[in-house]
């Protein structure tokens, strides 16, 4: 195995794990923003419980987003030093992301977690809005860097290195602006279907908090028919640009155009294999597309089934709740497929038509060192991801009855959650 194969595998594994949590972070924060805004205006206790319940899942999920993101950032220096030293433009997007968006997101999230009950409620509401805005800004700047790799614009060359030329051109990259709406709506779809699935689970089981979850399901069921079809539309909307800029990505569906582009690459860069293999691309593309259609369809059916609470009252429609629970993994599969299509389709280029992946790898790092980090990070992140998913499922299943983030604590012990006291008093295991 060559070092670049190990480095590519490691990037694929870690970024796939990373993005699962990122997509849910972006989706859930929007739900928390909506619910907390309504709570702050109306002051309904049920909306406060909803804010805390979905906010708590958001925070648990955020933990893995940040640690996997850290691995991603260091990985660029560890394994891809060739990319960063050749193209300064790529690093600029990430630098701006960390400084403006990610730093503020973490600071505001800390304030939101610890601000419960001690900050003015409007200030506290402003904080979750700021968390959401900076989270989406983060996504924007990462996409600036990624879109540069797909379609390099806004740079000049100095001493054989790509440096920032026209900043406005870099930010006006058409690839960026066609991708951004798709990524945003896909993340919202992920969040909405998780909220719908968890709510449907509780409604199907008939747990106590029916009112709580029917309202949550209504919110998700109202948003889903907007965001799910839009995701498909924005996805399809990218194809004319891909045909124009990266025809080799469509080797599975447009082989003639891809071959024509390959001929141009051969003329320019000498004979080599310039096409990614068609099968994984076809699988990823079709998986993403059919899940997208399925979710769009499901969202519309669910919206109708929610009229007059028919989904819980009609025996005919109740199985739809099970379908919604079963649909929870689908947006995650579609997200992963989407990124495989986008990133694998870029091969063999790190920066399309400019820098080959082989030349982007850190020079001089041995295969052994790369294998060590591949095994280490894969085992570490996969284990943590499984534990975190188990925690998310456990908290989601428990519902809003236990202690939630920002709850007041009892008079008995300073740092004892309510559930622990309940455990001590009742002697049975109803703890989180």
């Amino acid at each position: 195995m060559d070092p670049q194969d190990v480095a590519r595998l490691q990037f694929a594994v870690t970024s796939s794990i990373h993005y699962m949590f990122v997509a849910l972070t972006l989706g859930l924060v929007a739900i928390v923003v909506i619910v907390q805004t309504r709570w702050t205006i109306t002051r309904q206790p049920l909306l406060e419980r909803m804010t805390k319940f979905w906010g708590q899942l958001y925070v648990i999920n955020y933990a893995l987003g940040i640690v996997t993101g850290l691995v991603m950032e260091f990985q660029l220096g560890l394994n891809w030093a060739g990319l960063t030293s050749f193209s300064e433009v790529f690093g600029v997007g990430l630098a701006v992301e960390t400084l403006t968006a990610f730093f503020l997101e973490s600071v505001f999230l800390g304030l939101w977690i610890f601000g419960w009950g001690r900050l003015n409620r409007w200030v506290h509401l402003a904080l979750i809005w700021l968390v959401a805005i900076t989270a989406y800004l983060s996504a924007f700047w990462v996409l600036v860097a990624n879109s540069f790799m797909q379609h390099p614009v806004g740079h000049t060359t100095v001493d054989g290195r790509m440096v920032v030329g026209d900043l406005t051109e870099l930010l006006a990259n058409p690839t960026l602006w066609t991708t951004l709406p798709h990524v945003v709506t896909a993340s919202l779809t992920t969040g909405v279907f998780v909220v719908a699935g968890v709510s449907a689970y509780h409604l199907w089981r008939g747990t106590a908090a029916t009112d709580f979850f029917i309202r949550s399901l209504r919110l998700a069921g109202w948003l889903a028919p907007v965001v799910a079809p839009l995701t498909v539309t924005f996805g399809l909307n990218q194809f004319p640009l891909i045909l124009e800029e990266q025809p080799t990505k469509l080797v599975a569906t447009q082989p003639e155009l891809a071959a024509e582009q390959e001929r141009r690459f051969v003329e320019q860069f000498g004979p080599d294999d310039y096409l990614p293999s068609a099968t994984p691309l076809a699988v990823a593309e079709h998986l993403m597309f059919f899940i997208g259609l399925l979710l769009a369809l499901l969202s519309i059916v669910t919206a109708f089934a929610l009229i007059r609470r028919a989904i819980v009252r009609s025996r005919l429609l109740r199985p739809l709740l099970v379908v919604l629970v079963a649909a929870i993994p689908l947006p995650f599969v579609a997200n992963a497929s989407g990124w495989i299509f986008r990133e694998y389709g870029r091969q063999p280029w790190a920066i399309y038509g400019v820098l080959r992946v082989d030349d982007a790898v850190s020079p001089g790092v041995s295969t052994g060192a790369m294998l060590t980090s591949l095994v280490l990070f894969t085992v570490l992140l996969a284990t943590l991801a499984v534990i975190n998913c188990a925690l998310l499922i456990r908290h989601a299943r428990r519902g809003p009855e236990g202690w939630l983030i920002g709850d007041p604590i009892d008079a008995y012990g300073e740092h004892r959650p309510l559930s622990e006291r309940a455990l001590a008093l009742s002697g049975k295991d109803n703890a989180p």
Partner: protein, 338 residues
């Protein structure tokens, strides 16, 4: 002022802030077994860590971000050059964060205790990795023919590297104890102050050991381009340690915390300033080292980055200061999330 110099000042500020702020978070975790022997004590210490770490650890991401954007050559050289140590560093941060985020999510004793063990071990490994990376960056490093760093086992396990790694763990432990003594109260604060009293004199021993291994090592001697400045800064560190010990003996953790913070900053200044004009010094190579101009990105890149970030930097500082005000007192009457 030139763009590379401006960006190196921003990077320096981020490094100092990271070392001081994350230093006490990591230090409190390293000292956890000693200052929180019972569950209530550990919960109090970890709640204090939890209030701070979200806003502090991001500085590491910010530092790497600045390196990626403004000093891509240095970033690639150091991170891929110090490959094994960076693996330890990243793994430690990941495990430390996981421990903090997951510990409180289940009420079971064994679950929580398991994550506490992970928290202490990962924090110690993180501090050791800082020390090791600092020592490697400081010394003269072997390079290959095409100018890449060639750090092997003999550099990783050099006495100087090992002593620096151990000294870093000790330094953050003292810093963390002093912070714990300042923000917490009751038995925990008393124990934290007692521990810092015992560790203070060890700090002087650590400095002497670092100096001894440095003098004995040719690559380290080669790197110190300005001996007078080196001696002056080392003397400052020792004076600060003396002051720290006196304040601790008087039971004044805040003044002692200022001393430990200053001492850490002086150590950082020593690593950077005494090797002017080089950021990295090469061992027996045709080129003497990597200067700021070699490390920095092109003028146009630095300017673009500057325009994008200039309006945001004051917001960053203001937001972080606001957070410091809000999180400082313990959250009475609310569930502690961490």
């Amino acid at each position: 002022m030139s763009w590379p110099l401006l960006w190196s000042i921003v990077l320096g500020c981020a490094l100092v802030a990271y070392l001081l702020l994350e230093g006490y978070v990591v230090g409190m975790a390293v000292a956890l077994p000693a200052i929180g022997p019972d569950t209530a004590g550990r919960n109090a210490v970890i709640a204090a860590i939890g209030r701070s770490f979200l806003g502090n650890e991001v500085l590491l991401v910010v530092i790497v971000g600045i390196l990626l954007g403004a000093f891509p050559t240095l970033e690639g050289a150091v991170i891929s050059g110090c490959y094994p140590v960076v693996l330890v560093l990243v793994t430690a941060v990941v495990l430390r964060d996981a421990a903090l985020h997951m510990r409180r999510r289940l009420p079971h004793r064994r679950w929580q205790h398991g994550w506490e063990v992970v928290l202490v071990g990962a924090s110690a490994a993180l501090a050791a990795a800082w020390g090791a990376i600092g020592s490697l960056i400081y010394r003269a490093l072997p390079v290959t023919g095409d100018g890449r760093l060639a750090i092997g086992l003999s550099e990783l396990f050099a006495p100087f590297t090992i002593v620096c790694a151990a000294a870093a763990v000790l330094a953050v432990a003292v810093h963390g104890c002093l912070y714990a003594a300042r923000v917490l109260d009751g038995d925990v604060a008393v124990r934290a102050l007692q521990l810092s009293r015992r560790l203070g004199p060890l700090g002087v021993v650590a400095v002497l050991l670092v100096v001894a291994t440095a003098v004995a090592s040719r690559p380290v001697r080669l790197a110190a381009q300005q001996p007078a400045l080196t001696v002056a800064l080392l003397a400052t560190v020792l004076v600060l340690l003396g002051l720290l010990t006196r304040y601790v003996a008087r039971g004044a953790p805040t003044a002692a915390l200022v001393c430990s913070g200053l001492a850490l900053s002086v150590v950082l200044a020593l690593v950077v300033a005494t090797r002017e004009p080089y950021l990295l010094v090469y061992l027996d190579a045709p080129i003497a080292g990597m200067t700021l101009a070699d490390a920095a990105a092109e003028e146009s890149t630095l300017r673009g980055l500057g325009w994008l970030l200039a309006p945001v930097l004051p917001v960053l500082v203001a937001a972080r200061l606001w957070q410091a005000r809000v999180i400082r007192p313990p959250v009475a009457g609310r569930v502690s999330w961490f």
